[in-house]
Amino acid sequence: MRSFLRDFDLAAPRTLDEALTTLAREPGVWRPFAGGTDLMVVLEAGKLPPGRYLSLRRLRELRGILVDDQSIAIGAMTTYAEVMAAPVLRAECPSLCAAAADTGGVATQNRGTVGGNIANASPAADTPPALLVHDAELELVSLRGVRLVSYDRFHLGYKRMDLAPDELIRSIRLPRGRAGWIHTWRKVGTRRAQAISKVCFAAALDLSAGAPGAQADRAVRDVRIAVGSVAPTVIRAAGAEASLRGRALTMSSIAGCCEALRAEIAPIDDLRSTAAYRSQVAVNLLEQFLASASPVTN
């Protein structure tokens, strides 16, 4: 335990209003503290910036999963375990549930939160690619009001987010109505559990139905491709998506999509892996997914 605790404070407001008031009163002084599964590790390594932390633990307003016809709203303090247990998420957001199941082990999943994972903004985080693929939108609150930010515009750069010092993430909203899409999620970690990802890949395909009995290539009505650990932030591979949208899935269009992905990622060498590996494996995962979705190229 390498931090000198006297340099730190942790307080737990009882209501969201109390929390927002504290943040507004001393902007930049208080940093939000969710489940602790990221920040306590940094504290113990002696690397957490000393100062005042605001625990969100007691804020009921940030918990719970609300469902209506249009969308699912996941409270920011929802744990991975709660995500994995929610029937609506299991049915409609399989990538998110797979990402939650691949995050740490049971103990991490019981305390780590979706909002905390987003706000920690690690480029290697597991839920962000899944959230991008599900077109997530963040509900940000402060005393000044509420604003909605599309998640694919939230991360601005390495550890920089569109989140003001007086704001908290209240919920993560996922639109419904994706029945029939084909989803995939794959995390390539340093081992099969308790691992930080080297590449994490999420994608979803909306393929048009072929004529009955026809072997014709199915057209891609819509597609989402998101990759983590290959750039300073999680990325939505817009270029790769564009290269595929509206086209049939053929060996040629798949190859083109893969090359587009390769061009828009920028992985690095670090303690866990290499740029060359991340680049190649990201492309391989995309190719494998698209090939498996296409009856002709299979």
Partner: protein, 739 residues
């Protein structure tokens, strides 16, 4: 009968209830905590040690090299390692200053305010740089030790050979990663002497180191082993360092001091498995018989000698494997680099050299056009033949039978054919590979003679038998196996046996808990001592032929009444006929060997280049299985550690320092990463082991890495030559296209 019984672990109940006491669980009145301030530089002269103004240093206990009462050296083999750096440092993390205070938090804070100014000197970081010796960082030529052995006429054999196969193989450092970090609690003063309690494998190594550091006689130093949460060799020699540190702080403070490392410090600053590089050159006939072997084995010892000569010796001796070859040249060198000293880790040089050999043998097989199993079969050493180091193998050897069994259990040949046929069309490719090997049990050569181990047994007035040895329980089952052996020897139930906690004030020096010797060598001494005890009791009429527990108890009470304490000792005697030449390092290297064939079945995902071990079969001949559950547990755990070494465990070095010193970044296998490990034993009783047992704790480390890499080679057609074989390495060997 106790031998062969899966008696439950003696201290099992304490372990599953959380009541077992490890060193960090101890709290003494007035106790302080200790912390170590270490060099950030890899090599250089200490110019100044500055204590920052932010801290009131008068509140802390501060110790430097100047505070050492005796010799500022960790007594081991060459005694080149300072306990605390004096005027220079030779590796990153070298200990320089020690601090103590009652508040552990404050200590961490204070540590950051000690600045050690070092004038850097050019360091050496690789084996090649060390061997080139353009910069000399140790001795005259950066070489801690060298060995050279030659038999037959190697050059002539190469000149005449129809087929010659060359290869270079490398292994990386490996962190022992016992889940309990190193820790010691010391109570020391000039008046009373030194007592330490802690996590360790070898109480008498610590005892010797403390005697030397404090210039104290033996009876003024006491070392007590606490429950120890894993060792694997990482707590063989290193505990002497941390014990000396804790004791220095206590000596100065006049209070008990507990010094426990956190994980990052333990990983960065303590010993690891020696990295190695082996160069093989092998001449073979067209029908696959080994004609000549030329092996050049180099290990990286880090900055100080520690145990490198002994690691080198074992690695060199094992480098020719379980084969017969008439012309052999073995060379070994242990070199110095400016990294924290490397040290003992299960296998102790043999995993490194056997990895190289067994990966090489698959390439030799391919060059000759034989299957991997057939090449092995044609070259196994047989009883009566002479090994590479000049030992005539006297014990029965049945490598052929072990190979047959392993082949049958794994359907090796059928799978090899089937996988080769199916793989080209698959994204996930399968492979199967084997390794054949042996492991010498007990200390090398005359080592056991030099140890001159002694055990004692005592009988109490109520008929209990107390076993006194310095061999430690570190999870491998010492307590339980010793009790079984003693119970069998005395003919009483196991609950009549007490295993005394290793405490140098009480137990004799039965040698270290290393080298797969605890059951075989020390267990045999216990057997002998108990037999001697029984003989003594015959003086008071205990019938030699048999008796029950009551009769035994009465005899003990009677004896004690008449003669006083009842105690018998046994001292190690080498088995007759063993000859070893310390000068030429040839002869009977080990009293006996265990023999094994391991098979790994793998899947390689060509999308991600990840290798998964799907099935693992371990077949070994071990003399006699004293406790089947404990014995299988040793094989399973050793195989798991070796799978980690083969595929996951990479130490990333930056300027001699471990850059990934966290469990997040140094990857050991989780429960999701390991296959079922299927264990099979054969028994050829060894005359000098208790019940016929041979030592088996390290054997399982030797086989998995080459078996796995051979399987990956089969699956992919690639030619991996080093461990760990990470997905990144495999991708670059295979080429980046996953076609």
């Amino acid at each position: 009968m106790s031998i062969g019984n899966s008696s439950p672990r003696r201290e099992g109940r304490a372990k599953v209830t959380g009541h077992a006491r490890y060193v960090d669980d101890l709290v003494f009145p007035g106790m302080l905590h200790g912390i170590t301030v270490r060099s950030a530089a890899s090599r250089g002269l200490i110019q100044d040690i500055a204590f920052g103004p932010e801290i009131d240093w008068h509140d802390l206990v501060v110790v430097t090299a100047a505070d050492v009462p005796g010799r500022n050296r960790i007594a081991l083999i060459l005694d080149d390692q300072p306990c605390l750096a004096e005027d220079r440092v030779n590796h990153p993390e070298e200990p320089v200053v020690l601090l103590a205070h009652s508040d552990r938090q404050l200590l961490e804070h204070a540590r950051r305010h000690v600045r050690i100014d070092i004038v850097p000197e050019p360091p050496v970081f690789t084996m090649d740089e060390a061997l080139a010796a353009r910069t000399v960082v140790w001795g005259d030529d950066n070489i801690f030790k060298r060995y050279a052995l030659e038999r037959g006429n190697v050059e002539a054999a190469f000149a005449a050979a129809p087929i010659v196969v060359d290869g270079d193989y490398e292994t990386g450092a490996q962190e022992q990663l016992y889940i309990e970090p190193n820790g010691m609690l010391a109570l020391a003063s000039p008046a009373e002497g030194v007592t330490v309690w802690g996590s360790m494998q070898c109480p008498y190594y610590v005892h010797k180191a403390l005697m030397s550091l404090f210039a104290l006689p033996a009876e003024k130093v006491r070392v007590v082993q606490m429950e120890t949460g894993g060792g694997f060799g990482g707590k063989e020699e290193f505990p002497s360092v941390i014990a000396c540190h804790a004791a220095l702080l206590s000596w100065k403070a006049g209070r008990p001091v507990k010094l426990v490392y956190d994980r990052a410090e333990d990983m960065a600053a303590t010993t690891k498995r020696h990295p190695s590089r082996t160069r093989h050159r092998t001449a073979v006939s067209r029908d696959g018989r080994l004609l000549a072997m030329d092996v050049d084995f180099v290990i990286d010892g880090g900055a100080y000698c520690t145990l490198s000569p002994v690691v080198l010796s074992r690695g060199t001796i094992h480098s020719a494997g379980p084969y017969y070859c008439p012309n052999v040249r073995l060379r070994g060198r242990a070199v110095a680099t400016n990294a924290p000293p490397h040290g003992a880790f299960r296998g102790f040089g043999a995993p490194q050299s056997l990895f190289a050999l067994e990966r090489h043998m698959d390439r030799v097989a391919a060059a000759v056009g034989l299957s991997p199993d057939e090449l092995r079969r044609r070259n196994f050493i047989a009883t009566g033949q002479t090994s590479a180091v000049g030992q005539v193998m006297r014990d029965p050897i049945e490598m052929g039978a072990l190979l047959d069994r392993a082949m049958a259990l794994t359907e090796f040949q059928a799978k090899r054919t089937r996988f080769s046929a199916l793989n080209p069309a698959q994204r996930v490719r399968k492979g199967i590979g084997l390794a054949a090997f042996m492991h010498g049990a007990g200390f090398t050569g005359s080592g056991e003679d030099h140890l001159a181990s002694v055990v004692a047994v005592e009988a109490t007035g109520d008929g209990r038998v107390r076993v006194l040895s310095s061999n430690t329980e570190i999870g491998q089952g010492t307590n339980t196996v010793f009790a079984q052996i003693a119970a069998a020897a005395v003919g009483l139930p196991e609950d009549a046996i007490e295993i005394v906690q290793p405490d140098t004030a009480i137990v004799p020096n039965s040698g270290p808990t290393v080298a797969s010797r605890t059951c075989m060598v020390v267990g045999k001494l216990i057997e002998n001592a108990v037999v001697a005890l029984k003989s003594e009791l015959e003086k008071v009429g205990l019938p030699a032929g048999g008796y029950d527990a009551d009769a035994f108890r009465r005899a003990c009470a009677d004896y004690i009444d008449r003669y006083g304490a009842l105690r018998a000792t046994a001292r190690y005697q080498a088995p007759p006929g063993l000859k070893w030449d310390d000068e030429t390092y040839q002869g009977d290297a080990y009293g006996t060997y265990t023999w094994a064939v391991y098979v790994a079945e793998v899947s390689v995902d060509t999308t991600t280049f990840e290798t998964r071990v799907d099935d693992f079969v371990a077949v070994q001949e071990v003399g006699r299985v004293i406790n089947p559950v404990l014995a299988a547990g040793q094989i399973e755990g050793g195989v798991a550690q070796a799978i980690g070494w083969a595929l996951y465990e990479r130490v990333l070095w930056r300027e001699g320092r471990m850059a990934n010193a966290e469990m997040t970044n140094y990857i050991m296998p989780t429960s999701m990463d390991l296959p079922p490990i299927r264990v099979f034993f054969e028994e050829q009783p060894y005359a000098h082991g208790p019940g016929g047992a041979k030592g088996l704790g390290e054997l399982p480390m030797d086989g998995p890495a080459p078996a796995i890499l051979n399987a990956v080679a089969h699956a992919t057609g690639a030619d991996p030559r080093s461990v760990p074989l990470t997905p990144e390495s495999l991708m670059s060997i295979m080429g980046t296209v996953h076609a």
